[in-house]
């Protein structure tokens, strides 16, 4: 079953130059798709289009058999409830003036009335926050702290907890490990893998790190200059039919 389908997506910031050029991809339920490319290849723009932060210039994003472009308010709300995100820089992604527990509750409070949680259980705010923190392997006292009291890796766990709190169908991970140190990077990748196992959601994992993508994702797409050059199953990474650019990437790692 397909969670989301991107058809011939186009986006340009400067006339005549497409940041995302005719990209088509689909993500199945419970699948994690990796999107690899250098900085400036358009992978983050693609993510922003998916998240509805940028308007698309052409093509469509299909969710629940309907295009987002002409979705009703209700359908759009349903889409937002099911597509969450984790960004590269956890410090920027948390409001420095809010306690961790308040940041964590943001999506839940927004969609409270429409949610039917299967894994988590809401009895009180306190208990819910503790449950979330526990799921991302953080001590539950952290709920009462402010972001600047946490390390980078801890903050990224918090943003992950916030993203999974409403049990979305898809999480867009935009370079979630790029600003962390090595040991935290490895730990975050492991956490993401185990969360996917328990919660069964899909990932779109965007990164310039082919090895990290390979570790987490079943399928990998390679992007360059706004275009998708190559899409393959993880196990076929060393196939001879790989695109030359993919081979170049592989040679690096």
């Amino acid at each position: 079953m397909t969670v989301i389908e991107i058809n011939n997506l186009k986006k340009s910031y400067h006339p005549g130059k497409l940041a995302v050029n005719d990209v088509s991809l689909s993500i199945a339920k419970g699948e994690s798709l990796g999107l690899v490319g250098e900085s400036g290849c358009g992978k983050s723009t693609l993510a922003r289009c998916l998240l509805g932060v940028e308007k698309v210039d052409g093509g469509s994003i299909i969710y629940n058999e309907r295009s987002l472009a002409n979705a009703s308010r209700k359908a759009l709300r349903d889409y937002r409830r099911n597509v969450q995100t984790v960004f590269q820089n956890p410090t920027a992604a948390l409001n420095p003036k809010l306690k961790i527990k308040d940041s964590l509750l943001d999506p839940f409070l927004q969609f409270q009335d429409e949610l039917q949680l299967e894994h988590f259980h809401f009895s009180s705010k306190q208990a819910f926050v503790e449950q979330l923190l526990e799921t991302v392997e953080l001590p539950k006292e952290l709920g009462d702290r402010y972001p600047h009291e946490l390390s980078g890796g801890q903050k990224q766990r918090v943003t992950i907890a916030r993203a999974i709190s409403i049990e979305p169908k898809l999480i867009v991970l935009d370079e979630p490990t790029a600003s962390l140190d090595v040991l935290s990077q490895g730990a975050i990748l492991e956490l993401l893998a185990s969360l996917q196992e328990t919660l069964g959601m899909s990932y779109l994992f965007i990164s310039h790190d082919l090895a990290a993508v390979h570790q987490l994702c079943q399928r990998i797409a390679v992007m360059k200059d706004g275009e998708i050059l190559d899409v393959f199953q993880r196990d076929n990474i060393y196939d001879n039919s790989r695109h030359d650019y993919t081979k170049e990437l592989i040679s690096i790692f």
């Binding site: 932060v53 409830r81 410090t91 992604a93 943001d106 980078g152």
Partner: protein
């Protein structure tokens, strides 16, 4: 702008105590003026004019025989009250305007920025004098002029805070989650703004007291026989050589209150300006 030159740590401790003590004292004064006043502040007694201090009149009487202490105490209530009203009005108008200009942008923002530039081209005092000169003397007109001058500062500050914060990822994420503009303002932006507004307001508080007093002194604000401090100073001018204390008391009162306001401002700034975003 620290008033007392001590080590930072000591200043902090001293400040908290000083502020608490002064605030309690000032509140006590206000309470006293409401609950119990021996004399009527405007009742003249020409037979007893310019009297020396006595048990009956601890600070003596003025040129019309009115009790100076009573006038000073009532003046405190008036001066502080007027300042608070002007301040509250400036904040209430300025903050929402700044939020809207920052979040909406577009023509609203452009129009606002032109207005703000216009106001910034002249010093506050000059605009206030011109405005209350045009509108005519009277405390109401003066307050109106002050609000008109001050709201721009709040709107500008809030706008610039909003402009820096909305670019950050956490606002983007709030938008992705479909939070309404109002919820984003209330939940995510207000906590950034409150601290700054409080600090600016406490510093402005002293300035407004000075502005009211000085404009009343030159006859544009509160009119006699209102026991406003600036007006009292004005009234006591002709008697300065014979009875200098008539001028010293309201002058001292202004100095003390403005000083307290500034110390309070400093304290609030320390309290809210701790750089919380420092990376560990």
């Amino acid at each position: 702008m620290s008033v007392i030159a001590l080590s930072p740590k000591k200043i902090k401790k001293t400040k908290i105590w000083l502020i608490s003590a002064l605030l309690v004292l000032l509140l006590a004064v206000v309470a006293y003026t409401f609950l119990y006043l021996k004399h009527d502040a405007t009742m003249t007694d020409v037979g007893n004019r310019l009297a020396s201090p006595s048990w009956e009149h601890p600070m003596g009487t003025d040129h019309l025989g009115r009790d100076v202490l009573t006038r000073l105490l009532l003046g405190f209530r008036l001066t502080v009250g007027y300042s608070l009203i002007a301040l509250a009005a400036a904040v209430i108008i300025g903050v929402p305007f700044g939020l809207l200009a920052g979040l909406r942008g577009g023509w609203l923002d452009r129009v606002f920025m032109r207005i703000a530039d216009g106001f910034l081209a002249f010093p506050d005092t000059v605009i206030a004098i011109v405005l209350s000169g045009l509108l005519g003397p009277g405390i109401g007109n003066l307050l109106f002029a002050i609000v008109l001058v001050k709201w721009v500062n709040y709107a500008r500050m809030v706008r610039s805070t909003v402009l820096t914060e909305v670019q950050k990822d956490y606002i983007t994420i709030a938008r992705i989650n479909g939070l309404s503009t109002f919820t984003i303002m209330r939940r995510h932006l207000l906590p950034h703004i409150i601290g700054n507004v409080l600090v600016l307001a406490s510093l402005d508080f002293g300035k407004i007291i000075l502005l009211i007093s000085s404009l009343s002194y030159i006859g544009l604000g509160a009119q006699p026989p209102t026991p406003e401090w600036g007006a009292m100073l004005n009234e006591s001018r002709p008697y300065f050589q014979a009875n200098p204390e008539m001028m010293v008391y309201p002058g001292l009162a202004i100095v003390v209150v403005v000083l307290v306001a500034n110390v309070l401002g400093d304290y609030l700034r320390d309290k809210f300006d701790v750089k919380k975003e420092v990376q560990p």
